[in-house]
């Protein structure tokens, strides 16, 4: 018996979210008195993989062929399935992000294993297996029971945190038996982000709304994001007006994000916007309208003019970082 965690390979590197899912898998394994093991697809150095041992992972199966440096949903599903069978896994943990969403549902069908996505806590009970997740875009919490012997969950990013538990992590090569030409899709081109931080797994996000009054006023917001090491985002009216790229739109139909810190500048906080940010751990709202609904969901609020507040906040962050 074992709990298996899927470790997304970020170009040969691990990110904080990997350690979070590893921490989670270890805690689940602990409650079931079995080991927590990991699977990593594609190229990654031993020294990097070993770091998973800091979060309770005692064995990692690596499928090192560089073919696996690019996500192919069907192929990856096949490989994880074979790992599950070989290692007698009973629970598989994925991150609830693009890659988790790509593989976990397929694996559920492949293994006839009940899948609950976006879980926010450890199982409330293991037998029967009951777990909680957010539903209705964060407006409610649900308890879900998985009735199949094999179980799959995906963990909402930033919902669990890191829990150190040092264990030696043994790295083992895994040779899947798969046909590499079995897929009707293949990557023919790539366009990498020029710079900046990917919004989807950013730890901190600074976001602007209509209250920014025009695209020419974004400079202080970008400056703040740069100093904080944050990604930039915007509300829907801003992307609809073409002030910012639609890639930056967060909210319903746009990107749904769950950073540790979300700073909303000049965003009124319509339900559709909140649906995309309610999973953030901490929300700061800066708005000149004291009655804006964003203050109902924010943890910290500042009333005033963004143009004046942003540079001050940037200075405060610089001072905090000791610059």
């Amino acid at each position: 018996m074992a709990v298996l965690v899927y470790i997304q390979n970020f170009g040969g590197k691990l990110k904080k979210q990997n350690f979070e899912v590893a921490s989670y898998a270890s805690k689940v394994a602990e409650s079931m008195h079995c080991p927590a093991i990991a699977v990593v697809m594609g190229t990654m150095e031993d020294s990097e993989i070993e770091r998973l041992g800091n979060y309770g992972i005692s064995k990692t199966l690596r499928i090192a062929d560089k073919v696996y440096n690019t996500l192919i949903n069907k192929l990856f599903t096949r490989v994880v399935q074979q790992v599950v069978v070989q290692e007698n896994v009973t629970i598989v943990v994925f991150p609830d992000n693009n890659e988790g969403k790509a593989i976990a549902p397929r694996l559920s069908v492949r293994l006839n294993a009940g899948f609950v996505s976006g879980v926010v806590s450890l199982p409330l009970s293991v037998e029967p297996f009951i777990i909680s997740k957010r539903v209705f875009s964060g407006k409610a919490l649900a308890q879900v029971r998985i009735n199949s012997p094999l179980k799959i969950v995906s963990l909402a990013i930033n919902s669990f945190g890191l829990h150190e538990a040092k264990t030696p992590n043994r790295i083992v090569s895994f040779e899947p038996e798969v046909s590499l030409n079995d897929d009707s899709s293949r990557v023919v081109d790539r366009k990498m982000h020029a710079e900046g931080i990917s919004l989807l797994d950013a730890d901190k996000v600074v976001s602007g709304g209509r209250g920014m009054k025009g695209p020419e006023n974004w400079k202080p917001l970008e400056e703040l994001a740069k100093v904080m090491g944050a990604a930039t985002a915007c509300s829907r009216p801003v992307s609809d007006a073409g002030w910012r790229s639609h890639e930056e739109h967060v909210g319903q139909t746009g990107k749904i994000i769950a950073p540790n810190l979300y700073i909303a500048v000049g965003i009124s906080g319509a339900t559709q916007h909140v649906a995309g940010i309610s999973r953030s751990k901490c929300i700061v709202a800066i708005n000149n309208d004291a009655d804006a609904p964003i203050f109902e969901v924010a943890d910290y609020g500042v009333i005033g003019d963004a143009a004046q507040i942003l540079p001050k906040l940037t200075e405060a962050f610089k001072a905090f970082k000791g610059e």
């Binding site: 170009g11 690019t70 949903n73 069907k74 599903t77 609830d96 693009n98 969403k101 790509a102 976990a104 549902p105 397929r106 559920s108 069908v109 899948f115 996505s117 539903v135 209705f136 407006k139 409610a140 649900a142 879900v144 009735n147 897929d183 009707s184 899709s185 990557v187 023919v188 081109d189 790539r190 990498m192 982000h193 797994d201 901190k204 609809d240 639609h246 739109h249 319903q252 139909t253 540790n260 810190l261 339900t271 649906a275 751990k281 901490c282 700061v284 203050f295 969901v297 943890d299 910290y300 500042v302 005033g304 003019d305 004046q308 507040i309 001050k312 906040l313 200075e315 405060a316 905090f320």
Partner: protein, 249 residues
């Protein structure tokens, strides 16, 4: 080319969510139902692809797994421009059961692409698309933000961690799409609404399928602590709060 767009019928985004039966069931009294916003974007682009003459898309179907109450949503899909709607008559309990119904139907018709929105606004599972693909043993591409055709072949753009990736698809695939695939949903015009009444809405019976998961209870989140206001002149204090109180720095 024939496209199938999977449609989820969900409560309007502004719905105040309530539960009944000892907090075990969603209370649908007074709820406005809409096309799941992501599915609406999927349908918008599918219809655009059909209406543009320079690509090979000729037919767009929509499917929903649900009871007769979802038919107004399917009619709206027809008004937006789908050629035909299919309702699989079943009150499914989870994504697995829903996906199995769609896959069983899709197996009988040759769809080039089956398109699903990335998430549904009710149970936020992000599961049906991938599950349909696995039931059909076909390729799936997730986080899709665009599609174009080159010499009859589809080039699909997806968001990856490090940037954009472009995949060529030879054969059928399930596309799980997000914003970018379309920017804004199409609003049906009067002609579309009139024509929707004439278009076929076929009801088919469900196949045997079990659910693997079950919702056993719901609750509303704890009321959020009141927002802590910080004066615009105290930004150092705000950063201090974020560091020591919220512990997010």
């Amino acid at each position: 080319m024939k496209l199938l767009v999977c449609i989820s019928n969900v409560p309007d985004t502004t719905t105040k969510v309530k539960f009944t039966d000892n907090q075990t069931k969603f209370d649908s009294i007074g709820v406005q139902w809409i096309i799941n916003p992501w599915d609406e974007l999927a349908l918008t682009r599918a219809v655009d692809l059909k209406e543009e003459s320079n690509n090979p898309v000729s037919e767009v179907l929509v499917v929903n797994v649900g009871s007769a109450e979802t038919e107004p949503t399917l009619r709206k899909c027809l008004a937006i421009g789908a050629d035909k709607a299919i309702r699989i008559d079943s009150d499914t309990k989870d994504a697995f059961q829903t996906a199995k119904q769609i896959a069983a139907m899709a197996q009988k018709e040759a769809f080039d692409f089956i398109i699903c929105g990335i998430e549904s606004g009710d149970y936020n599972s992000s599961s049906v698309g991938g599950m349909v693909a696995e039931f059909l043993d076909t390729a799936s591409i997730s986080s899709v933000s665009d599609i174009r055709f080159e010499g009859g072949k589809a080039i699909v753009e997806r968001d990856a961690d490090a940037g954009k990736e472009y995949l060529q698809v030879d054969g059928t695939a399930v596309l799980i799409v997000q914003k970018g695939f379309a920017q804004e949903p199409k609003i049906p015009n009067m002609r579309g609404i009139m024509m929707a009444r004439q278009k076929p809405l076929e009801v088919i019976s469900a196949v045997d399928a079990n659910a693997l998961t079950e919702y056993t209870g719901f609750r509303l989140p704890e009321p959020k602590a009141k927002v802590k206001m910080v004066s615009p002149d105290q930004m150092k204090e705000l950063v201090n709060f974020l560091s020591t109180e919220a512990k997010v720095l």
